[in-house]
């Protein structure tokens, strides 16, 4: 929309809740695993730190720079896995991942890619742990 004043997107409730009160937006002093992903087009970045012990994700925390949806994405991801056994979390179906952020506007869809990438990454942590 050239020439219009540009505006923030409309957000669904999940997104609103997760960016306005991001309980997991902090840092771990000691992390057993950590990743930073980003979207090269929009420049958004999410860093996740995990403390995984004996197959249990004891703590998951994130930091992010980006749009409100990507801030929410980090929190949604951490909330989903924090305190859970890695094996359970790895069972998260693709369908679950797709709906985890609620209904998105077209311009928000690419946040899903970051979410998918984060779940993908969990598999890699798991593998060496075996």
């Amino acid at each position: 929309m050239p020439g219009c004043e540009l505006r923030a997107d409309m957000f669904n409730e999940i997104i609103v809740k997760n960016f306005s009160d991001p309980a997991f937006a902090s840092e771990l002093d000691e992390a057993t695993a950590s990743i930073e992903i980003g979207n090269p087009v929009c420049g958004d970045r999410i860093r996740v730190q995990l403390d995984v012990t004996d197959g249990l994700i004891k703590r998951a925390r994130y930091q992010a720079w980006g749009c409100a949806t990507s801030l929410a994405t980090g929190n949604v991801f951490c909330a989903c896995i924090d305190g859970k056994p890695l094996s359970v979390v790895l069972d998260t179906s693709n369908d679950d991942i797709e709906t985890m952020l609620g209904e998105l506007e077209p311009s928000q869809h690419h946040c899903l890619e970051m979410l998918r990438a984060l779940f993908q990454w969990l598999k890699q942590i798991h593998a060496p742990a075996k």
Partner: protein, 395 residues
């Protein structure tokens, strides 16, 4: 709807009570103003009264005003209509048109349409770093076949006031049509079409506390331009279609009301701008402003605020969701392939990083001093929270 968090007056304004009352009063006299029985006369007289009220605000004669469905229609009509009347549209020999690169999308898209459909030559002039397009800059790109120049009086994103009077003088001497998008100026600052010397100038009621969906075009006495809406003999044959009587009447009332308080409003807004920018600088780390260094070159209602290191889109979401505050942005998520950046800020040479950190704050007649304070508090809080979330990531 509460107005204390509304900082997007450049996008649209709430209707003033006078406009609401006028609109309600006009709903029941439903006669078609073009009909000739006595009943329809009421509607006709209301239209003419509104035309006088608006003419005062625009600084022209009633006979020079034609009502339209808003600023976009007025821009489309002025540009396409003029080029048709001048024989440039429908001619094998393509003409040349000049616009600034910081025009509203309606003007920019018309320019692209002229290029695409009719093979026009279009020059898009970049503003200087202050967001100003000088008469010199226009002069430099004139060609022998330049038929029309379109430059906005006030920019909607950064509030710069263009030297329209000087450009008029330049173009008048050369017989080139000068259209001015006055949508962000009429009803917001002192405007006088005659003094400005422009050929056509558009405006929209919803920017000055009138209803959405109505506006108009000033066409200088003696000029005639081909209609955009061909049809009946409404508006002196210049614009077909049954008139939006209630909206027009409400626009008239809004024009009269704002005209009466305009000097005072401008004065107050200028003070607000000073207070506001001081407070921001004091409480929000990393704040700077886009726009001219000379405050005289900017309307007092608009601040283009950059907060270094912050993704403004997220800040706006926090302001909206947690504080009930509305602003607009210099950049927005678009899709996976492109970032959507304000074409105005890009043209002014602002970096992508700074554009992504930019909010547009605009205030108006219902903004109170305490709203500014509340805004700055919310902003400081939001910025702190975003900084906390992002401190460990590169950006």
């Amino acid at each position: 709807m509460s107005l204390q968090g509304y900082f997007d007056y450049n996008a649209t304004t709430p209707m003033c009570q006078q406009a609401i009352d006028a609109l309600n009063g006009a709903l029941f006299d439903f006669g078609n103003p073009s009909s000739k029985y006595s009943l329809a006369n009421i509607s006709k007289q209301r239209l003419e009264n509104a035309r006088r009220q608006v003419a005062r605000l625009v600084g022209c004669d009633s006979s020079e005003l034609t009502f339209t469905s808003g600023g976009t229609e007025a821009n489309n009509w002025a540009i396409k209509g003029t080029l048709t009347s001048r024989g440039s549209i429908g001619n094998a020999q393509p003409a040349h048109v000049i616009v600034s690169s910081i025009e509203h999308s309606s003007v920019l898209e018309i320019a692209s349409y002229l290029e695409r459909v009719f093979g026009f030559e279009v020059t898009r002039i970049k503003p200087n770093a202050d967001g100003i397009v000088s008469a010199k800059a226009v002069e430099a790109v004139l060609r022998p076949n330049t038929q029309l120049v379109s430059i906005m009086l006030v920019n909607n994103e950064v509030g710069t006031i263009q030297p329209v009077g000087e450009i008029s003088t330049l173009l008048r001497a050369r017989g080139i049509h000068f259209h001015v998008d006055g949508v962000q100026a009429v009803g917001k600052i002192h405007v006088n079409a005659h003094e400005l010397g422009v050929d056509t100038m558009s405006f929209a009621a919803h920017k000055f506390y009138g209803p959405k969906g109505v506006g108009g075009l000033y066409v200088r006495q003696g000029l005639t331009i081909e209609p955009l809406l061909h049809g009946g003999d409404q508006e002196g044959g210049l614009r077909g279609g049954t008139e939006a009587v209630a909206l027009i009447v409400a626009m008239g009332a809004a024009a009269e009301a704002i005209y009466a308080v305009l000097p005072e409003l401008v004065f107050r807004a200028a003070n607000y701008r000073i207070t506001f920018s001081r407070l921001l600088i004091e409480y929000v780390p990393g704040v700077s402003f886009h726009g001219p260094s000379d405050p005289e070159q900017q309307v007092p209602y608009t601040l283009s605020v950059c907060i270094d290191g912050i993704r403004a889109e997220a800040l706006a979401a926090i302001l909206d969701q947690m504080h009930g505050i509305q602003v607009s942005l210099g950049s927005a998520c678009a899709n996976n392939k492109t970032v959507s950046l304000s074409h105005v800020l890009v043209a002014m040479g602002v970096s992508e990083r700074a554009i992504k950190a930019t909010l547009r704050v605009s205030f108006g007649q219902y903004t109170e001093e305490q709203d500014l304070k509340r805004f700055v508090d919310a902003m400081a809080q939001g910025v702190r929270s975003l900084q906390r979330i992002s401190k460990a990531v590169d950006h």
